[in-house]
Structure formats: C-alpha cells, structure tokens
C-alpha cells in the first residue's frame, strides 16, 4: 500500500509534528502494520517539496518512541513491537482535534446537534473519498 501523508505547511503545527502525528494515528489505526516500510526521507521530502531534515527529525522522534525501526537496506519500517491500538487508545488520539472543534463550535454559537450533524457529514464525505 502506498503510504501517504497530508502536509499543510501553513498550518501552525510544525511539519515534523504533522508527520509524527499522522504516523502515530496510522499505526494506532492499523493502517500501517508491523514491518511495513515508510517512504525514504528523500522521497517524502521530494514529494512535498519540503526540507529532508524535517522528515529526518520526524522519523528520529518516532524511532525514539519505539514506533519505527531502522532496518538495513529498507530504511524505516513500523516497529515489530507495535500493535494496532485498542479502541480507547485510538479515541485518545482523536480527542484533541474534536476538543478544538468543540471550542470553535461554541465560539460560533452552533448547537451540539448542528455540530454533530456536521461531523457526521464530514465522516461520510471522507468515507466516500476513500472508497470510490
């Protein structure tokens, strides 16, 4: 499977953190499995026209966390010790974005019902985009 990242340089979240968080989520969600290879530093940097050092920084952090391992001749792979996270762990990874969205819904004066309806619509749209 081709591993894809979505990088938003103008997001105030630094690019290396965007990569770290996406890898973390995809491992927890079972999208990335044990032993699966990640794109090389150079390939990922070239694809998004970003600094290779930023990609190295992200991979090194993930290696320190034990989520990735450096394998001879293969580059970075998902560590064999990782497992798809339990439901609780995966929910914890989603919580911060929803917390931020909840805060914005409050600032915009949107009711819980409207906000939930909108989230549901977003879920459906993502699902449609991934299953053409």
């Amino acid at each position: 499977m081709h591993m894809s990242f979505s990088i938003a340089p103008s997001d105030p979240t630094p690019i290396y953190r965007q990569i770290v968080e996406q890898v973390r989520r995809q491992i927890a969600g079972g999208v990335l499995r044990q032993g699966q290879g990640l794109p090389s530093v150079r390939a990922l940097a070239q694809e998004h026209a970003i600094n290779p050092m930023t990609v190295s920084k992200a991979y090194s952090l993930l290696e320190t966390e034990g989520l990735l391992e450096r394998r001879r001749g293969m580059g970075m792979v998902v560590a064999t010790s990782t497992e798809r996270g339990g439901s609780a762990e995966r929910q914890d990874l989603l919580r911060p974005s929803l917390q931020a969205a909840a805060e914005q819904a409050r600032q915009l004066g949107l009711s819980a019902k409207v906000a939930l309806g909108l989230y549901e619509a977003c879920l459906k749209q993502t699902h449609r985009e991934e299953t053409p």
């Binding site: 340089p9 103008s10 997001d11 105030p12 979240t13 630094p14 690019i15 290396y16 953190r17 940097a45 070239q46 998004h48 026209a49 970003i50 600094n51 290779p52 050092m53 930023t54 920084k57």
Partner: protein, 277 residues
Amino acid sequence: MNDAIISANHVRHLYKSKAVLEQVNLQVPEGAVLGLVGRNGAGKSTLLRCLVGLTVPDKGFCQLGGCMSTDLSDEMRERLGYVAQTPDLFDWLTAEQHFERIGSLYAQWNQEQAWVLATQLSLPMFTKAKDLSLGDQQKLSVVLALGHDPDVLILDEPVASLDPMTRRAFMRALFENHDSERARTVVISSHLLSDLERVVTHVAFMREGQIQLMDEWDALAEHLRLVQVNTDEAPRGAIFKSRRPEQGLWLVDTRLAGAPAGGRALNLDDLFLELNA
C-alpha cells in the same frame, strides 16, 4: 550550535546618510536553511550583499566559511552560489552560452546537472537573455548559482516571478546537493512565506535595518502564541509590543517564565503581520 558558516557581526551600513543596517548580528549554522523575511526596505538585500562581499559595510564585518566576505578566497568563491534580486546576466548570451561561460569559471561546474535543472524549471535554452521574460531570467540565475553544486547559497528573492509549479521544482533543487559530505547552507529572502515554511530550518525577521527575531522555525511555531489579556499591562513572557495596549493582544513566548498558557498558534504569515503591525 555548530560554528556559524555564515555570519554578520555588528554590521552597520548607511545609504544617503540613513542607516539601512543597524547593529546586525547573524549566525547561520552549517546545514541551516534560513528564511530572511521583512517588509520592502527592511534591509534584507543590503544584508545579503554584505554577506557575499558586494557591499562593504560602514561598520562591522561579515564572514563566509571563516573568510572575510570582502576578501573571499578562491576556494570559498568556488563553494558559494548567489542570486541577486535583479538577474545579473549577459543580455546577448543564451542560457546555453551562459552555461559555457559561467561553467568555465568553476572547477566543480556540472554541465549535466545544470541541464537537468534547466529542464525541471522549463528554462528556454536558446533565447538571448534580453529576450527572456523576467521569470525565465530568474530561472537562469538560479540554475547558474546552483550549477557548481555550492554548499553556501545566498538567494535574494530568487523566485518572486515564478509560478507555483516552478517554485516547487526550485525548492526541490535546493536539497539536491551532490557533495553529500557537506549539508548545504542556504540564506533565502522571500515574501512567499508559505514557500519558506516548507523549506526553512530557521527564520530571521528584519525590520528597519535590524534583526527583530531569529530562531528555529519549529521552535517559533511551537512556542509563540498570540494571547488575549483583559488588562492594559503586558503579560509575562510578552515579546514585542506591536499592537496598541488597549487591544490586549500580545505576542508571548511560552518558553519564558510565567508566560500565560493558551493563546493562538501562528503560522509564518500571522507572525510576519504581528511583528510588522
């Protein structure tokens, strides 16, 4: 921090008896990609010209790779690439003829690589420079600056007239250095802040001839916050008073002791606006 490979030391420079650079200190570590940003007239071009030795500052000095910028060794010249704000080309020569002419000046000139880059940037090779569009003239200047695989690259708004596709190709080329022993060090001034966000390791903000703020970009993005307070007083950790106090909005460095938590994170565009408000 590694030893600085590019530095400005107490640089002061006057133009028509007005200070365009005032007490500028800059240390760029090897391998860094420094984005130099600031409004028009902030002194960016003059500083870059001082770094490469084209302008001799009235006070202070600049150094490249341990050499005084005003007295660069041949070895350092061979390692340096520079793109001026206004393309500096031979009007009557085509890109191909520029390759021959400039290439002969550099021992490390890589003709094949220059052609590859020219193709990636869609540079017309057989048109005289004077008949090229401004965008194509910029492309040619960039290819000429990169053709000898320099490990110090100083770029003064190199891509202002290029389309987004070509700018991506240019950003990729910045990291294509073949002498992988040495990480290339780059200083680039640009108003295209969303481009800079992709490639910089460090950012230096200039205002009115001075460096207002310089740090690693990741650190600034992670630690600077725009905080709203209900008093007229500056909160602890506030840096720069760019807005009127009654607005109660402050740029805060959350690494400083006692700084309030929360606040809004800023991208490079936001931070530029705050620092120049």
